[in-house]
């Protein structure tokens, strides 16, 4: 296995609970990588094992070819930005950043220039003498990042870096983290439960669930072609339908018979055999709504339903539409409402249609 950070068959059990279950991941040098999942999925335990606060029961962790599994945290070429920042309250901002360099007994001159350089990087030079408690949340986070980066770690771990910030600041820091990552070029590993954060921060994301990695992919691929229904529902919203494969076509297209919705044509990532029970996924914003029946064709999946509920969000409107047994979520951007038709009202009969490329076959949970 090549790669810069290698997690090789790592497992960790707490009592009766398998927190991390045989996880293998490879992260390239300089990559921005996210561990994404709901709380309790094992992402934090995995991060703590990379940092050295927990020992894996099985498996190895390598950084730049060196096996660090048995090293204590202070000897690892890894630094962490903690969720609550864990700044030392008895030290000034300057001394907080200098802490790591002092611990490795660097010469005084090197410490001074290193800390000053970091303060400039995170634009906190004028706050150097302040205590952490005198800073705002965003400034504290920048101190935490500077304090970690000044040690020139080979891997920087960031545990829920934006969770403690309010919405406006979060959006600002999101951009800032991306800029910072480009500037320093260090491998960044984010741990987050927020899919939006993970999508905008990372080159690749590992989606975790109950201790296992469900899928590792680029944000685009995770969104457009999730492999499991967990990934599909965790990243963005999704409509799921269960059906039976009736006709296999070339290039992975499958016609699936779904009770009450006819037989839509969708795309499958993996092998599918006839009469196999499948789960389909369609994103709400991929469904077009029209009052009239759309022109039928080979490449159009269309079915009708009745608007049950709607909610206006400004940039878009969401509709809940009943079609027989199914309750389907559709999302419309005003400008996209085709043909200049009036907005469908509650109780109105509408037509839903989606292109075969927008419908995906996802793996069934647990049974797979």
């Amino acid at each position: 296995m090549d790669g810069f950070l290698v997690i090789d068959g790592v497992s960790k059990t707490f009592g009766a609970q398998r927190a991390v279950d045989d996880v293998s991941l490879t992260v390239a040098q300089g990559e921005a990588f996210s561990l994404l999942g709901p709380s309790g999925c094992g992402k934090t335990t995995l991060l703590r094992m990379i940092a050295g606060f927990e020992r894996p029961d099985r498996g190895r962790i390598l950084v730049g070819g060196q096996d660090i599994t048995a090293l204590p945290p202070e000897q690892r070429p890894v630094n962490t930005v903690f969720q609550n920042y864990a700044l030392f309250p008895h030290l000034s901002v300057w001394e907080n950043i200098a802490f790591g360099l002092r611990m490795s007994r660097r010469p005084r001159e090197e410490i001074r220039s290193g800390v000053d350089r970091m303060l400039e990087l995170v634009r906190l030079s004028e706050h150097a003498r302040k205590r952490p408690t005198q800073l705002s949340g965003g400034q504290r986070q920048r101190v935490a990042i500077a304090r970690a980066l000044v040690n020139r770690p080979q891997v920087l771990l960031l545990d829920e870096p934006l969770a403690a910030l309010d919405l406006k600041l979060r959006q600002h820091m999101l951009m800032e983290l991306n800029t910072l990552h480009e500037q320093v070029g260090t491998t960044f590993i984010y741990v987050t439960h927020d899919q939006g954060e993970a999508m905008s921060l990372s080159d690749r994301i590992a989606v975790m669930n109950t201790g296992k990695v469900e899928q590792v992919d680029s944000p685009e691929n995770l969104y457009e072609s999730p492999r499991t229904s967990f990934v599909a529902s965790f990243i963005g919203d999704a409509n799921f339908f269960t059906g039976v494969a009736v006709e296999m076509q070339h290039e992975g297209y499958v016609r699936v018979k779904v009770e009450g919705l006819g037989s839509p044509l969708v795309l499958s990532n993996g092998e599918v055999s006839a009469n196999q029970t499948l789960r389909l996924m369609v994103r709400p914003e991929k469904i077009s709504l029209t009052l009239k029946r759309p022109p039928s064709g080979e490449r159009v999946n269309a079915f009708s339903g009745v608007v049950e509920d709607m909610a206006y969000f400004g940039s878009h409107t969401r509709y809940r539409i009943r079609a027989g047994e199914h309750s389907i979520l559709a999302q419309l951007q005003r400008s996209r409402f085709s043909g200049g038709e009036i907005d469908p009202a509650r109780g109105a009969e509408v037509w839903m249609s989606f292109h075969p490329d927008e419908g995906r076959v996802v793996r069934l949970e647990a049974t797979a």
Binding site: T80, F82, N84, A86, F88, G100, S104, T133
Partner: protein, 285 residues
Amino acid sequence: MSTESRPVRQWLLTLPSLLWLVVFFVIPAILVIITAFRPANLQGGVGTGWTLATLREVQDPAYLPLLWRTLWLSGATTLVCLALALPVAFQMARTGERMRQVLLLLIVIPFLSNFLIRIFAWKSLLHPEGPLTKLLIGLHLIPENAVLLNHVGTVLLVLVYTQLPFAILPLYAAAEKFDFGLLDAARDLGAGPWRSFSKVFVPGVRRGLISASVMVFVCCLGQYVIPQMVGGTSDEMLGSKIAQRVFSDRNLPHASALAGGLMLAVLVPMLVVVLWQQFGRKEAE
């Protein structure tokens, strides 16, 4: 509630404790100092008129070694207590809720028995015919004729024993509020376990260290029972002399002068500490 009445309310709330302090502390302290300027009478009481004679008497150089011994014994007790209490407080704050309650109880239990009885217990434990002496001689850890009692080290040992809870409790209170995640951060930044403890935990419980030091040091300064019971004749502390002037010599002005001097020796450092704390708080804001 209007803003003007808030200070009034605060004054009313502190009034009971303020009165208590004035009646039982400030007035007696002033009386002690006044007594130091009164002549002694032959009945062991305090005469009328004013004199500076007592003040000249207590400048006797014979008191200097006593004062010095009192200070270093109190200082050494404080240091040993802090060194022992720090790891205890650290561990206690990290153990589970139930174990913590048990440990706290164990620390407080000795207080249920009388102070003098506990000192007597030490006396019989360390007695030449006592179990500890016999055990240590039996194990050839100390020579046959060794005497554990009547030694300045014994005084220090028993002082540490009696004062240790007063060091543990404030330190534990501080350690309980300490964010142990900071130790993870220290380890992450390259500090080993020992340096995380000394560079992050110890400064983190600074307030507790200050209260523990003041508690232990001040309590030690006034001790006279312990040196008298387990120490030798040359291990007297200033407190022993004050007791002697009161109970044997019946010279209250002399005792008052000594007590007043010791009080100043306590209050001046405490004032410094309080000012230091105030300064530290202002700096932290």
